[in-house]
C-alpha cells in the first residue's frame, strides 16, 4: 500500500481547504496551536498522527475544511515543521502545492519572551524576529528563542 493510499484510508478527503502534510511525527498539536485551533473550534479538522511516511518515518497530517492558510501562518508553521508541505484543496483536487520555506524574518506572529523587551511594553510596535538556522531572534532585544516556539505564537 502506498503512503498516499494509507492516509486516504485513515483521513477522508476534503472538498475545499488545506492539507498540511509531512509534519514531523507528534507536532500536529503545535500546528493546530499556531492556527488557533483548540478544543472549542467550530472548524472541521482531521488530524493524523504518527502515520507511516517514506520520507520522515512517521509524520503527522492536518486537514482543515474550508480554510486556506495565510502566508503569516505558513511562515510560523515553517519554524516548527520545516519539512511540511501545504496543499490547497479546491473541489476535492490539489489546486496548489507548496513546500514551506523558512522566511528570513517573521513579523507579528511571535511575542518576545523577554519581559524587559520594549515590544512587551505597550509600545505601538509589531514584533519582529530574525529566523536563524536553529531558532529565532528578537529584532529589538536580540533574545534568541530555540525551544517551545509554540508557547510564544501570537497570530
Amino acid at each position: 500500500m502506498s503512503e498516499r493510499d494509507d492516509h486516504e484510508l485513515r483521513i477522508s478527503k476534503i472538498e475545499n481547504g488545506t492539507v498540511i502534510d509531512h509534519i514531523a511525527g507528534g507536532h500536529a498539536p503545535d500546528v493546530l496551536a499556531i492556527l488557533g485551533i483548540g478544543s472549542s473550534t467550530d472548524e472541521v479538522v482531521s488530524v493524523g498522527m504518527n502515520v507511516p511516511s517514506d520520507r520522515l518515518g512517521h509524520k503527522d497530517v492536518v486537514k482543515i475544511e474550508g480554510r486556506e492558510l495565510s502566508q503569516d501562518e505558513v511562515d510560523v508553521i515553517s519554524l516548527i515543521a520545516p519539512a511540511a508541505s501545504i496543499n490547497i484543496i479546491r473541489e476535492y483536487g490539489v489546486a496548489e502545492k507548496h513546500r514551506v520555506e523558512r522566511p528570513a524574518v517573521v513579523e507579528g506572529v511571535l511575542s518576545c519572551p523577554n519581559h524587559d523587551c520594549i515590544t512587551t511594553d505597550g509600545e505601538p510596535v509589531t514584533s519582529r524576529f530574525e529566523v536563524l538556522d536553529d531558532g529565532v531572534r528578537c529584532a529589538y532585544c536580540e533574545t534568541i528563542l530555540r525551544e517551545n516556539l509554540t508557547e510564544h505564537i501570537d497570530v
Binding site: 524587559d116 523587551c117 520594549i118 509600545e123 528578537c138 529589538y140 532585544c141 536580540e142 534568541i144
Partner: protein, 323 residues
C-alpha cells in the same frame, strides 16, 4: 562621515566607523573646535533611567561644540508617568531637537525609537542590552594607553550577563581581532545572544571563573560591578563577589603595562589602593566621554552644518594599529 544615521548598537558600527570617531576625538583633543561650531544646534536628552556620567558628558559635549541640550528631566516628572509611549515621546522631542540621546530601561528601546524619528538617535543604554557610545570611549582609552587596538588581549570581568557596556565592548573588540577573556561566576556569563554573535563573527573568546587563569596575559583588564540586585539570594552574592574584587596586590600578578578600566560607578570591585598605580585608567576613561561624544555629535551633525570638519588626518601617531 559616519556610514549611518543612528548609533544603536556596537554590532552595527564598522571598524571604519569606529576609527573615524576615534580619529575625530583625537583631533578635537589636539585642537578643540571653535565654540560656535554647532551654534544653535540642540541635543534632546531623553533619560528614562538615572545617569550622571553619560548624561553630563553628552551635555558637556554639545555645549563645547557651541550647541545646547534640552533635557526632559527626571522620568518621574515626565509625560511617561501619564502613560505616554516612548514612540510618542521621541516623536515629540524630535520636533525640538537636532539629535536625540536615549537611555531607557527596556532592551531594544533605541532600536524601536529609531524607527519613529528622522533625526540622529544615539543609544545611551537600553536595559541590559547595549551602550555603544560607552564602547567608543572605552576603545579610545585603550587606543591611547595600550598602544593601539589590534591584537590586544583583553580581560572583561564582572557581571557579563546584564552588563550592557560589556556586550557592546565585546562586539567592537571582535572587529579589531582582540583576544577576549571573559571572567565571571557561572551565573553571570555572557547571554546567549552575545555568545551567538561572537561565535558567528569568529571572535577569539575564552571564559574563566578565576581571574588568575589569565591575568598575567592581559593588556587590558576591564572590570564591571557584580550587581548585588541580580542575585536572588544575598548569600549567593557574597559567595562570589569577593572573588571578583581587585586591589593593588592582585595587580602584582599583572603585566606592568596592563591597564585597568571600569565604566564607573564602582562600588568595591576595585580597591582604592589601585587608584595611584600606573594601572588605573578609569577616571581618564570617564573624562574621555566628552571628546568622544563631541566627535560623534560633530560627525552626526556635520551633514546639515556649514562648518568645516575638524581635521582628523594630521598627527595620527596615536591612531595606528601597531603596538
Amino acid at each position: 562621515m559616519l556610514d549611518r544615521d543612528h548609533v544603536i548598537t556596537a554590532k552595527n558600527l564598522s571598524r571604519a566607523d569606529i576609527e573615524t570617531v576615534l580619529d575625530r576625538a583625537a583631533a578635537i583633543e589636539r585642537d578643540p573646535p571653535d565654540r560656535d561650531r554647532h551654534a544653535g544646534r540642540l541635543l534632546g536628552l531623553c533619560f528614562f533611567e538615572p545617569s550622571t556620567r553619560t548624561r553630563m558628558s553628552f551635555e558637556a559635549a554639545i555645549k563645547r561644540l557651541g550647541g545646547d541640550a534640552l533635557d526632559m528631566g527626571p522620568v518621574d516628572s515626565s509625560s511617561a508617568t501619564k502613560g505616554e509611549s516612548l514612540a510618542d515621546t521621541v516623536r515629540v522631542i524630535e520636533g525640538y531637537a537636532d539629535a536625540l540621546v536615549l537611555r531607557h530601561p527596556s532592551e531594544g528601546a533605541a532600536t524601536m525609537a529609531s524607527d519613529f524619528v528622522d533625526v540622529p538617535l544615539l543609544n545611551a543604554g537600553d536595559g541590559a542590552g547595549q551602550h555603544p557610545t560607552q564602547t567608543l570611549l572605552d576603545l579610545y582609552t585603550m587606543r591611547e594607553n595600550a598602544g593601539g587596538l589590534t591584537d590586544l588581549t583583553v580581560g572583561i570581568m564582572g557581571d557579563l550577563k546584564y552588563g550592557r557596556t560589556v556586550h557592546s565592548l565585546a562586539y567592537a573588540l571582535t572587529k579589531f581581532d582582540a583576544s577576549q577573556h571573559f571572567v565571571s561566576p557561572e551565573s553571570l556569563r555572557l547571554p546567549r545572544s552575545v555568545r551567538y554573535d561572537l561565535h558567528e563573527a569568529g571572535a577569539q573568546v575564552r571564559e574563566h571563573e578565576d581571574l588568575d587563569d589569565v591575568l598575567s596575559e592581559l593588556d587590558v583588564l576591564y572590570v564591571t560591578r557584580i550587581q548585588r540586585e541580580r542575585f536572588p539570594d544575598e548569600n549567593e552574592y557574597r559567595a562570589v563577589a569577593g572573588e571578583y574584587r581587585i586591589d593593588a596586590e592582585t595587580l602584582d600578578r599583572a603585566r606592568d603595562e596592563c591597564i585597568v578600566m571600569h565604566p564607573l560607578p564602582r562600588v568595591d570591585e576595585i580597591a582604592p589602593d589601585v587608584d595611584p598605580t600606573d594601572h588605573a585608567h578609569y577616571f581618564e576613561q570617564a573624562h574621555n566621554g566628552v571628546p568622544v561624544r563631541m566627535a560623534l555629535l560633530d560627525l552626526l551633525l556635520d551633514d546639515t552644518d556649514d562648518g568645516e570638519a575638524v581635521d582628523a588626518t594630521e598627527d595620527d601617531s596615536a591612531n595606528g594599529g601597531s603596538r
